[in-house]
């Protein structure tokens, strides 16, 4: 069977496709913004292909709501194996791109105790309701409750739901925070990671990397020995991001060996 054997499109339909097949292009600023987002993601997850096997093109699985999960799985495994130097090296690329913002965050005066950082977060976390985005903060929240998102049954839009990303500078700053937290986690410095994540919550309550932040927070809580906190936050993560690519990481962090 060949295309010649098929009944082709009538000329009028062909003309319609020729006239209307192309829509308007995306705005140039969207193209630039998206490139930065993609670069941020791939820098944060340099080894994602490690876990995935050799797909043919037809077998390339689609990433879900968030993208660098597979790498995070490998990451978690490596953390558990205590191969921190390797991790630190892999994250160095991202850290370097964070530039001055990262440096500032790594200064000792920013190593505030996590409980102190977390205690400052309720005002921002009140905007996390997935239905309205403006719900009140949870009453009587524990330290890890403060940062926890409300349950969600759908994939959260990222850039489109990030009103605090009005410019490229804020995206770079947000990226620097997430990279810093990840680097702290790689150093097995859970308290520092939590402190940076708390800062991210204050400054970017609805940022592009909320999902990544929450996955890191679960790992950081587990790393600091707060098993109950990690489990509770992990459960909220699962409800909020039921299709997240980070779920294996969260599961591993909350269930341990």
């Amino acid at each position: 069977m060949g295309d010649d054997d098929l009944e082709g499109l009538p000329p009028a339909m062909r003309a319609l496709l020729d006239a209307g097949g192309e829509g308007p292009p995306a705005p140039a600023h969207v193209k630039e913004r998206l490139l930065r987002r993609v670069e941020t993601t791939v820098h944060l997850a340099p080894n994602v292909a490690d876990r995935r096997e050799t797909w043919g093109v037809a077998e390339v699985p689609a990433p879900e709501s968030s993208t660098y999960v597979a790498s995070a799985v490998g990451y978690a495994s490596r953390v558990r194996a205590r191969k921190f130097p390797l991790l630190a090296a892999s994250f160095a690329v991202g850290l370097m791109t964070g530039g001055a913002a990262v440096y500032a965050l790594l200064r000792p005066e920013h190593r505030t105790a996590p409980s102190e950082q977390l205690a400052q977060a309720p005002a921002e976390s009140s905007t996390w309701s997935p239905s309205s985005g403006t719900g009140p903060p949870p009453a009587a929240a524990s330290s890890h409750d403060v940062l926890a998102p409300a349950p969600s049954t759908h994939i959260e839009p990222r850039a489109s739901a990030a009103p605090d990303h009005g410019n490229d500078g804020s995206l770079a700053a947000e990226r620097a925070l997430v990279e810093t937290a990840r680097a702290a986690l790689a150093r097995a410095d859970g308290p520092a990671a939590l402190a940076v994540l708390a800062r991210h919550t204050r400054e970017f309550p609805n940022g592009t990397f909320v999902e990544e932040r929450e996955a890191l927070a679960v790992q950081a809580l587990a790393q600091t020995g707060d098993v109950a906190g990690a489990k509770a936050r992990g459960e909220r993560f699962r409800r909020r991001y039921p299709r997240s690519l980070f779920l294996p990481v969260v599961e591993e962090a909350t269930h341990g060996d």
Binding site: P10, M13, A26, A62
Partner: protein
């Protein structure tokens, strides 16, 4: 595109608009295209080493975009909100008759595409809009040739039916 094999950045620069158009044609809602495109390009970045440079680039990109879009369309969010009437932002600037006709034609094409089963639509887009041969389409989608021919036949029929109905409905 310059150097070969292409770098990720060169692919992004050259094919961003193609991916954007493809995702629209595959039914990704306007407000979600950027997020879905993000996942497409992350996948492209990660799979670039597997790209066979002896084959055309766009079918390979389409294969990735198709799978990401398929996954997106299975999400509860898409299913819940797909019929909320969201449309592209209207351009408020005055437009010439020719532009108006093009815009109307585009809306008609997009509406007709939306009536076609996604698997069939992918074949239709690759062949009828992107101009790829059936073997290229088959390779991009990982399906046997006969399956592609069958889908193309069904897609053409569905497209013609949809356009005809909409033209009747709107008195065109």
């Amino acid at each position: 595109m310059g150097a070969w094999p292409p770098s990720f950045r060169s692919i992004y620069e050259a094919e961003f608009d193609y991916i954007w158009q493809t995702l629209r044609r595959l039914g990704v809602r306007p407000s979600d295209i950027e997020d879905v495109a993000h996942d497409v390009f992350v996948t492209v970045h990660r799979k670039l080493a597997d790209y066979d440079t002896f084959r055309p680039l766009r079918p390979w990109l389409f294969g990735i975009a198709f799978r990401v879009a398929s996954d997106y369309r299975r999400t509860a969010r898409f299913k819940r909100e797909v019929f909320d009437g969201e449309t592209d932002r209207e351009d408020v600037a005055p437009i010439a008759d020719q532009q108006l006709e093009t815009k109307e034609a585009h809306k008609l094409v997009m509406a007709a595409l939306e009536t076609i089963n996604l698997d069939q639509r992918a074949v239709f887009i690759l062949h009828e809009l992107d101009g790829h041969t059936i073997p290229e389409v088959a390779r991009a989608l990982g399906e046997p040739l006969n399956t592609i021919y069958s889908r193309l036949r069904l897609a053409r029929k569905a497209f013609i039916t949809a356009v005809t109905r909409m033209q009747v409905t709107h008195g065109r």
